[in-house]
Amino acid sequence: MKFRIYRYNPETDAQPYMQDYELHIEAGDMMLLDAILMLKEQDDSLSLRKSCREGVCGSDAMNINGRNGLACITPLSSLKQPIELRPLPGLPVIRDLIVDMTQFFKQYHSIKPYLVNNDPPPETERLQSPEERKELDGLYECILCACCTTSCPSFWWNPDKFVGPAGLLQAYRFLADSRDQATAERLDNLEDPYRLFRCHTIMNCVDVCPKGLNPTEAIGKIKDMMVKRTV
């Protein structure tokens, strides 16, 4: 089984390069992450992030044969050889498959990703109907892996100005929460030529999301809310 992997160590490499690797294994039930770790046993300098190995922590996002995904839930048998692995596009590379996610998290933080409710909390839970709670499905499950945001051309051009699909999905998660009281502030925060409106519904984000979420739809709903409040 053949691999071509992006290598770059700023201490020793003037330029990034692609390194060929080979494993003598059958794909079987293996996930891509299992294979990369076998390569790492041969060459311990090959660097990547990893943790849960079941697609819930969001550590091992990378560009796999040209498409962003999580190595731990990508079946090896689904991939054409040589399997080409690159770091997530659009973010500075720290080393090999590890990118600097500062900008991504900065955008996430910029949407104020926490519930705002200024009423004194009741002694028990705040009530929320199953229908109201259902509005959060498809939103709260985001694992912040950055597959979507780093596949978005609008984010590539304006990573400092455009919030990006992951951040906007979370912006809508709080707008959609019946318990949240900061709708106006949240919309003000996005009322800007770039922050929200740079989304041109290219839908790469929907295509790559490993959790099957739909940021484009959420962004559309925020745009609707913007329109409604100006009418």
Binding site: K40, D44, S45, S51, C57, S59, E125, D177, R179
Partner: protein
């Protein structure tokens, strides 16, 4: 080598549920806090918890904290400390409501209250009938909880040191803890983080076993650091094997599946739990179910070509329940077992899951260790919460959903205790001159040692020894051999070598440092297991099949130096109610 130093009021190591709950309270109190995490906080292993968080809200059927407390004491096989258990079960509703107020997206009942599902070992009326006590966000409760706590910490401006690994504790001559030495993974920079209070929330060590539900990061770092600093580890022989890890892959399938009505079958299609736990059946506690599964497999009633697993059947729950209550499970089953559970059963096998033991603490999160006055003596400046701590609320066996509860109850309580202690203790003690000596020596060895076995090889040997010699059932000859073998592996671990010598995000170095910690935990587990001559909770001895309260109703304390074992009494007296007397444990 000169090591840079920064000074804080509190250093929290670990940013899972426990670390972040504590960090939130500490930040909100205006203290200068540093929260270190090997990974970005939402990547911590709390994110993988599925089924729920236990609290006697009584939203579906009648419930109260006394029943929850009884279940927890019984579940612990009477090894849990009843003061701590009372404290946790009483606080449960309040901390769950608090999480809801923070914005946690719990599922809801028609009346708008938090949805609760049944879970193993949680019963009504002192063990009579299953009760719906597990507060759930679909089967992603840990994810919902961890992200909510992170979000709240963003709001509180908590100071996170992301991708920093703590290497060793700093203790002075009096035994007081004065901070940690840590390394920034991206740059390999080593720094002393001096603190008036050091809180460990470093999680478990499931990676000592070959088949584990745990993430790669669960390497027992806090336990390794504590053990190297001379602090004992408590009750390490008690390791929980979760009944339903996906056969082959080890990935967790929540007990919530059985809570929603799923059940286990053997190769004859028999619902075998009825024979082992006639009342609770598939909702008996985890140690009971895992032993039943292992027995079915051992006696030739396992499924598949090799007869080495059983099946978890849930197709009868219907499309609606599966897609609403268990969507994550369906995803996992499709990806890792290649079955759609709405149509076919999931092949499962008991899989190493949770460490009941840990750094000994009282129910305020203060680390306690025998020094001058006895085993309950507080180690000044040192606190531990979550899976790395042994309070002990889980005793010999943890109930499902009591772990998320443990994180938030004791995360919050430790923060309260720290705030109180710091008021009495406003000044930093001077650091010992050799504060960074041990971690620097560990790093120097990795830098100079060019020839040796790979970390991966030695790690695999360790996991294999633990898997074969210290599993669901424990045999005297295997344990004796295991003690010997794990010592040999520990020797080999001293001579590992890494090829990668880069300063930039050197994951090979991180894994070598993690192996040091895993080895401490593996040795503690094996030694304590070989010594305990009874069966209790997660520790099942083939040669001593009964619980022996006369001789073994006591916590073990393992000291890394000399592999010495000591014991201390179980705290049988609760805070305000009567003790639950010892009884045979039947489900």
């Amino acid at each position: 080598m000169a090591v840079a130093k920064r000074t804080f009021d509190v250093v929290v190591v670990g940013a899972g549920g426990a670390g972040m709950r504590a960090a939130l309270a500490l930040s909100e109190a205006g203290l200068k806090v540093a929260v270190l995490s090997k990974v970005f906080p939402t990547r911590s292993h709390t994110v993988a918890a599925q089924g729920g968080i236990a609290a006697s809200l009584g939203n579906v059927n009648e419930d109260n904290w006394h029943w929850h407390m009884y279940d927890t004491v019984k579940g612990s096989d009477y090894l849990g400390d009843q003061d701590a258990i009372e404290f946790m079960c009483r606080a449960a509703p309040e901390v769950v409501y608090e999480l809801e107020h923070y914005g946690m997206p719990f599922d809801r009942l028609d009346n708008g209250k938090i949805y609760q599902r049944p879970f193993g070992g949680h019963m009504q009326d002192y063990g009579k009938n299953p009760v719906q006590r597990a507060c759930a966000a679909a089967d992603r409760t840990g994810h919902a909880l961890l992200h909510t706590l992170y979000q709240r910490n963003v709001q509180a401006n908590t100071n996170f040191f992301v991708e920093w690994m703590a290497l060793d504790l700093i203790r002075d001559e009096d035994g007081d803890v004065l901070g940690v030495v840590a390394m920034e993974i991206e740059t390999s920079e080593v720094m002393i983080l001096q603190a008036r209070a050091t809180l460990f929330a470093t999680g478990g060590a499931g990676r000592i076993f070959a088949a584990s539900t745990n993430a790669y990061i669960n390497t027992g770092d806090g336990l390794g650091m504590a053990a190297r600093a001379g602090i004992p580890l408590e009750d390490m022989e008690f390791f929980q094997f979760h009944p339903t890890g996906v056969y082959g892959a080890g990935v967790l399938i929540t007990e919530g599946v059985r809570g929603e009505g799923g059940y286990l079958v053997n190769k004859d299609g028999e619902r075998f739990m009825a024979r082992y736990a006639p009342n609770a059946k598939d909702l008996a506690s985890r140690d009971v179910v895992s032993r039943a599964m292992a027995t079915e497999i051992k006696e030739g009633r396992g499924c598949g070509k090799h007869g080495d697993h059983v099946l978890l059947k849930l197709d009868h729950l219907g499309e609606d329940v599966i897609s609403h209550r268990l969507p994550g499970i369906r995803e996992i089953a499709k990806k890792f077992a290649h079955v759609d559970p709405a149509r076919e059963p999931i092949p499962v096998v008991p899989t190493a899951h949770y460490m009941m033991g840990g750094i000994p603490t009282n129910y305020h999160g203060q680390v306690v260790a025998p020094y001058k006055t006895g085993p309950e003596e507080v180690v000044q400046g040192f606190y531990a919460v979550g899976e790395c701590a042994c309070v002990s609320v889980h005793g010999a066996n943890r109930l499902g959903c009591n772990s998320l509860l443990d994180l938030v109850v004791f995360g919050r309580e430790a923060a309260r205790q720290i705030i109180e202690d710091l008021e009495r203790n406003p000044h930093h003690k001077p650091l010992p001159h050799d504060a960074a000596e041990r971690p620097l020596a560990r790093l120097a060895r990795l830098e100079t040692h060019k020839q040796g076995e790979s970390v991966a090889e030695v790690g695999a040997a360790m996991r294999n020894v633990m898997q074969v010699h210290c599993g669901v059932f424990r045999f005297p000859d295997l344990l004796a051999e295991g003690v010997q073998k794990i010592r040999e592996v520990a020797e080999r671990a001293k001579n590992t070598a890494i090829q990668d010598q880069s300063k930039v995000f050197n994951t090979a170095r991180v894994e070598a440092l993690e192996l040091d910690n895993l080895i401490e935990v593996a040795q503690a587990t094996m030694h304590a297991a070989a010594a305990r001559q009874e069966s209790r909770g997660g520790h099942a001895r083939d040669d001593f099949p009964q619980r022996d309260d006369d001789n073994w109703l006591k916590h073990s304390l393992y000291f890394s130096e000399g592999h010495k074992l000591d014991y201390k009494p179980v705290r049988l007296k609760p805070l305000t109610v009567e003790s639950f007397p010892l009884k045979a444990r039947v489900y």
